[in-house]
């Protein structure tokens, strides 16, 4: 937990709404879906009022993961087929793609790298969720996508402080997020979690993002944090958008045991990630959008 008196943290959190606002359409959808009795029509109306967002959601609805035999052509059809939780997740996913398409100099991440890392972690998280028969694999995908979103804020907002983090890290002995904690009193997970809180996302998402480097600190019932933790490390090992910190991350024994993963499973996971990267058109289509 971040110390209540941490001034820098308070300053950054206060800036989140300005630095990383959630578009009105999505805010509306998130709010509407909080009430399970909201008529589907209201959701499709909200989405259709934002044409660019609607196009992106349709693209996601037609990706191979959902496996519809016929193309989903209209938003109202998509909402009926997929239900509003999935639609909400998709709207957030589409928005996150644009938020993550950034260059982060502080982390030695060029523009494509941050995007690739987030996208790869999202895929890997969803693969683990599916393997575990986790009921809400799409939410885990979103967690994977957003796990490092705090880096975008820190990179933008705390440049000076950040140089001290790099210095500390370069001394050796600490992992990158530990260097952040030592210098700043918090890490990019705390900031990412604050972003998700401002966006009004679920408690699970907020906690998983906060604890993705230290899943032991999450509450006992939270399984998704272990999926995102492992996914992030595997994707880093594979070099997908790695920057400062490299593969210098400790895999949590607890996560391995909660998910019951062996060495062979990790190899299979790496294979599946490569298969999905080859087959998934989402990445290309969103980067051009």
């Amino acid at each position: 937990m971040v110390d209540k008196d941490n001034i820098l943290y308070a300053r950054i959190v206060n800036k989140i709404t300005e630095l990383m606002p959630l578009p009105e359409t999505i805010q509306k959808i998130v709010d509407l879906t909080r009430n399970p009795d909201t008529p589907l029509k209201k959701i499709s109306d909200a989405l259709e009022s934002d044409e660019a967002m609607a196009t992106k959601v349709l693209k996601l609805a037609n990706s191979s993961f959902y496996g519809f035999s016929k193309q989903v052509k209209t938003i109202s059809h998509a909402v009926v087929c997929l239900g509003f939780n999935t639609i909400k997740q998709m709207a957030l996913t589409a928005h996150s793609f644009s938020v993550l398409d950034k260059q982060l100099d502080g982390y030695y991440l060029d523009r494509g790298a941050m995007f690739q890392h987030s996208f790869g972690t999202a895929l890997a998280s969803r693969l683990l969720a599916t393997k575990m028969y986790y009921p809400n694999a799409e939410e885990v995908y979103l967690m994977g996508l957003l796990h490092d979103v705090g880096k975008v804020i820190l990179n933008q907002f705390a440049e000076q402080e950040f140089n001290k983090v790099i210095e500390e890290y370069n001394k050796g002995g600490l992992m990158f997020y530990e260097a952040e904690r030592k210098v700043l009193g918090f890490d990019h997970g705390d900031i990412g979690s604050a972003v998700c809180q401002k966006w009004n996302l679920s408690d699970d998402i907020v906690e998983t993002i906060r604890c993705h480097h230290n899943p032991e600190e999450a509450s006992a019932g939270n399984i998704s944090v272990h999926m995102v933790h492992i996914a992030n490390i595997i994707v880093s090992i594979m070099g997908l958008g790695i920057g400062a910190g490299g593969v210098d991350q400790k895999i949590s024994e607890k996560s391995l045991s909660v998910l019951n993963l062996k060495e062979e499973d990790i190899s299979m996971l790496m294979m599946s990630i490569m298969d999905e990267l080859e087959n998934d058109e989402t990445l290309a289509s969103f980067r051009n959008a």
Partner: protein
Amino acid sequence: MAEIRVKLAEMRFSNKSEDTLVAHGLGACIALAIFDRTTSLAGMIHIVMPSSDVQSKNDHPVRFADTGVPVFLKEFMRLGGNFAACKIVIAGGANMPSNSIFNIGDQNVLAVKKALSKFNLSVSGEDIGGNNGRTLNVDMKQGVISSRVFGCPVIVL
């Protein structure tokens, strides 16, 4: 100048002096580069895992050291490359620190070297191990192969 990016589980070749071959963001993966001065032919392969045992069919030979290296070397020869005059370099093979259940970086390094030795070849330069991400670069015009850890100076191999 064209930068040819060699992505995960890809191999690329060029004989144009204005080109550079680059593998960005190597973690535990290995980029193996080969450069033949006499013909100005260069190649690079970006290997992800040590052994193809994990796949049931041989669908993706380039992903693995044991199947990727032979495919790569044969293609190099087919394109007119000559091993006697060439430089062979590897970079990558980083490992996670401490209590990890596996050290895929080290395994990758060993597997690539073993696969090379079957062709009686060995590396003339390497930048491997540690916990850091790297980039390997073949500058065809200068004939220089170099690697770089993020935020650190370039190392000529």
